[in-house]
Amino acid sequence: MLIVATTACGFIFGWGLLISGMMQPAKVIGFLDVLGSWDPSLAVVMTAALVVSRTGFTLATWRKRPILASQSFWPTKTDIDRPLVIGATLFGVGWGLVGLCPGPALENLATFSPRVIAFVIAMALGMVLHDLWSNRSVTTPQREGTFAAAADG
């Protein structure tokens, strides 16, 4: 049941990206290109998604626990630390270079584009490299718990 529900959520999310045009990296670049022929579509996508999820998350907090799981995994971190700032900057550089963020990158695998496949492999490698590097720099076992809680999304 859990698997069916999450597949459906991914499917709806995918249709959202597809209909909004955000699967197309060139359209995302059109939003980021404020000096060119600016396309504000991405701002509308974000605003609509925020209004719906703000309302939905408020409803979700009314329930003691999720429908198909024993607990909710709300992110717990609140501080703006160095990894957040550096990580968001590095991500911004990559996003600006190609116009792909993780969701549309994975979804575009459906097009079997060799360039998308190369991007996704590099992205996965970047994630693995981060986790190897981060595990190496962790020496105290007490970081285990904070590692799981560190994920914002």
Partner: protein, 141 residues
Amino acid sequence: MANFTPVSAAIGGTLIGLAATLLMLFTGRVAGISGILAGCLNFGAADRSWRVAFIVGLVLAPLVGGFVGYPIPSPQMPDSWSVIIVAGLLVGFGTRLGGGCTSGHGVCGVARLSIRSIAATAIFMATAVVVVALSHHLFAG
């Protein structure tokens, strides 16, 4: 603003918000794609199945769309393979270090009014705008 498509953007954004809501309501998880993918790549993790299922659903959307005749855009990417590889590495490493991407921070985090996510979103948006301005205008070949 010749390419502005507000109606389809609003419909698509609504579906993205709906998917994030349903995932939280049913499974208690944040719909952050970078976190979901990173969990898939962590072969020791116990909760990989729902993550794989979400990504399967994500990829199924355009496959089913194409099957029923919905136009699927052919992705326009930079010519340079090295730019693509470097960008992919930066997106992968950066989203892990920063704890999220456009979905986890940009949608779910901002919707929770998390200061952390609002800061991350402002930083990656501003950085990407600068990178596009430099690469498309200042250093445009």
